[in-house]
Symmetry: C2
Subunit: 132 residues, 2 copies
DNA sequence: TTTAATGCAAACAATTTGCAGTAGA
DNA sequence: TCTACTGCAAATTGTTTGCATTAAA
């Protein structure tokens, strides 16, 4: 059995994720963590984030050419994302408003642990700008 | 207006994508393209793939730490993906079997151009192996 | 002829990893 | 004590870019 230790670094990373509402990437988490604990390395931030994702505490938003962004899963606030192709902004979409996808169409024996649903498109602001 | 030219390289990339059913990444596309057209560079493959994604002809599957995988959009075969966390295998999930997500919960004025739906989990084979 | 597309190699950026030292349990 | 975790720097890996050349239109 793998033994998980509670370290100051780990707590700091979790606190930053719980506090911030803006889907930060690893570098941004690192910067914020350093305000409290200046010696923390970027490598440790990555290692901690990986562990949190493995534990299912945090979810990721992945886009080619951009750094992976991390989103803390708050109890009872399950949500998905709407990503603007133009400006890259990410909006939260409450999952409660969406229908549950049935597992019927999945490959036989596939165990779903997580559903990633993203709406790609153009946000109101960018749509406005493009009308020029 | 941007002028798009029909080159041998571009045709080769498209043909490889249309032929393969296994969600290849850029390097794999490159290898396959070279079987027909040995001089094609990886850079050109990337540029072509980017263009195809921009044109909406091809969709991507993005996972941190792994190469982006490309999936040709066949008419009338709209589908989503089930990704195995353990072995990385990607299965197709026909979209017809899934309910249409209502745009009601989206941010005001957000124009959806594409929906990315991924089921993360463990496939039957890997689940079997883990029972040891 | 005009200029988009190419090949090549160098540059980049995000992420991972090896290792010796630090500190939870 | 024991070994997971850390900081640091170097190494990987995937992807992008500059530039001189080639080839569609």
């Amino acid at each position: 059995m793998t033994m998980v230790r509670q370290t100051r670094q780990r707590s700091a990373v979790i606190e930053v994720l719980q506090t911030s509402r803006d889907h930060p990437d690893a570098a941004q988490v690192h910067t914020q963590v350093r305000e409290k604990l200046p010696s923390v390395s970027l490598g440790t931030v990555y290692r901690t984030l990986d562990a949190l994702v493995r534990d299912g505490v945090v979810m990721t938003i992945e886009r080619t050419g951009q750094a992976t962004r991390y989103d803390y899963k708050r109890a009872g606030e399950h949500h998905h994302h709407a990503v603007c192709r133009a400006c890259g902004a990410i909006f939260d979409v409450p999952a409660a408003a969406l229908p549950q996808p049935p597992a019927a169409a999945l490959p036989a024996g596939f165990q779903v642990t997580d559903v990633h649903l993203e709406f790609m498109g153009v946000c109101a602001g960018c749509a406005e700008k493009n009308r020029a």
